[in-house]
Each structure stands twice: as C-alpha cells, then as structure tokens.
C-alpha cells in the first residue's frame, strides 16, 4: 500500500526497502523521523528522543497522529497473527521484494 499511495499522491515511486533498511532514505517528508519513531514505539527504546525529533521536524500534531498509526498497527498485527487471516495474493510481491519469509 505504501507504493500505491505514494504513486497516487505524488506521481513518484518510493523504495520499499526503506522499510527494512535504515541506510535507505524513505524520501518522504519527515520520513527518517517517522521511521525512527515507529521503531521506538515497538522496541520501547529512545521513545522520548524520537518523539521530540519528529515534533521538531513536523510539529506535535503530526507526532501525535504518527503515534496513533503505530498504536493502530499494534492492534492489527495481533489480530491478523492471532486469527491467521491470509494476506491477499496481490501483496505477495512486497514480501518477496523485502526478503521477508512467509
């Protein structure tokens, strides 16, 4: 969905490997800060630091919205894993591109 949404909104493409590889810039506004915040939300490490960095880069409203998205996927990840709902075939290319075993 990341690739589709970027193409539809900006007419450009994004390197999906930026999700898994910290050496690759997501090339989105505040993309580096967003990725760092998502990492901190899951691991619990450097949360204050990454939250403050995103607030400085994009404002506190965006930081709060980003935290909401991360929290939502803490919910959705558990639901999907616990119920075993299969991922749609149309998304299989993403796992292959990122080298994620399924």
């Amino acid at each position: 969905m990341l690739r589709v949404s970027v193409q539809k909104t900006t007419g450009t493409t994004v390197d999906l490997r930026a999700v898994v590889d910290d050496r690759i810039d997501p090339e989105l506004p505040a993309g580096l800060e967003l990725r760092s915040l998502a990492t901190a939300m899951v691991t619990g490490q450097r949360l204050e630091e990454t939250r403050a960095a995103l607030s400085r880069a994009a404002g506190p409203q965006m930081a709060a919205a980003a935290i909401g998205v991360c929290a939502n996927f803490e919910m959705m990840n558990r639901i999907l894993d616990a119920t075993g709902c299969p991922a749609p075939e149309r998304l299989r290319f993403v796992a292959e591109l990122l080298g994620i075993p399924r």
Partner: protein, 210 residues
C-alpha cells in the same frame, strides 16, 4: 473520569480521547461470550504478559494462555495451537473475543505510552451476563477462525460482530476509516504514504506475517 491524559506531552484530538473512554466502557461491560469481569481479567493477563509475568486471575488456564499469547507472542500463534486451545475448552468465539479485547488494549496502551501519558488503570467491571449472540453467517475458510463474508483484515473478528465493530471504531480514529482506506489520495495530518511507512515498519518489527 478516565483518560484525563494530564501528563501527555503531545496534543490528543478530542475524538481520540472520546474513543479511548468508549473503549474502556466496552472493556468493562459484558461481552458476547465473556462477562465484564472476565474481559478485565483477560486485559490484566495481557498487560502482565508483556513483562513475562502473570496476573494470577481466576480465569481458566486456557483463557489465560490465550490472553498472554495474543498479547506477547501473537506472531508465534499457529493453527495447531488454536485447535488445541479449543480442544481444551475455549470456544472459537471466546477466542475471537479475547483477540479483540487484547488487541485493542495493546493499541490503547501503546498510544498512551507514545504520547507520554501514564498507563490507564483498568476500570471496574459492569455486572451482567454475556449476550451469547451467535453469528450464523461465518464460515471456515483459510484463517484460524471462521469469518464472514471472507478472510481478511476487516473481517478477522467477524465471528463476534461486536468485537469487529469495536476494532473498526478504534481503527478509524487512530488510522483510517474503511472509506478513507479505499482512497489512496486521502490526507489527514499525515499523508497516506507517511501512514503506510509507519504501518509497514511497525508490522515488520512485530514480525507480523500479513
């Protein structure tokens, strides 16, 4: 009043605060297959499981195991484990209700931690009996649980429609509504691409197979 969020370091939109309070009411109330007291015990087990402890609740052991597993090790859950859980006395509908309760609690607690607020104490249970309303439209497909009209993220909890609706409500205020999800050009405070970067990163780090 719950969720005053006085110690939050980021602004919390009113609609998010309202939904968090509604979620606490749902958590405390009798569900479809569990009482309010049982739902809160599930929540307590889910919270303590994150620190590899247990809450010493009075729930049957398989329900405790379900709550702890969905909370702290969802990525390790297999079809065989769910089958075994059912063989040990948890109905598949009870399991789906546990998944709903625990997963929404994970979202609430994660959100509070993210905005710098203290963990909200669990509410007192609302007395009453579970409704016991069967959802007759669901069918077994590829998922570990029966669904309707199909397997998929939107319908994963459809065997217990109240849980599906609650997920939908929380999903809409923290991320996107179903209608907004279908619109890839939708933009709120974050662009859709920024949201998907966050979603993909969280899912990767949680080892979510989806």
């Amino acid at each position: 009043m719950s969720f005053e969020l006085a110690d939050a370091v980021l602004p919390v939109p009113d609609r998010v605060g309202e939904e968090l309070r509604r979620e606490w009411q749902r958590l405390a109330a009798p569900g479809t297959w569990l009482t309010g007291r049982q739902r809160l015990a599930v929540a307590a087990e889910a919270r303590t499981a994150r620190t590899f402890a247990d809450a010493h609740s009075e729930l049957p052991e398989p329900l405790i195991e379900a709550a702890q597993s969905v909370s702290a090790a969802a990525h390790l859950i297999t079809r065989e484990w769910v089958v075994d859980l059912v063989a040990r006395g948890v109905t598949i509908e009870q399991y789906v209700e546990v998944v709903g309760v625990v997963s929404r609690l994970a979202a609430v607690d994660s959100y509070l931690r993210g905005i710098g607020a203290q963990e909200e104490p669990l509410p007192e249970p609302t007395p009453g009996r579970p409704t016991g309303e069967h959802e007759n439209r669901v069918r077994w497909r590829q998922a570990f649980v029966p669904t309707a009209p199909e397997d998929g993220a939107r319908f994963a909890l459809s065997a217990v429609p109240v849980e599906e609706h609650a997920r939908d409500q929380l999903h809409a205020v923290l991320y996107l509504s179903t209608e907004q999800m279908a619109d890839f050009t939708y933009r709120g405070v974050l662009s859709r691409a920024q949201m998907e970067l966050l979603a993909a990163r969280v899912s990767l780090l949680n080892d979510c197979f989806y």
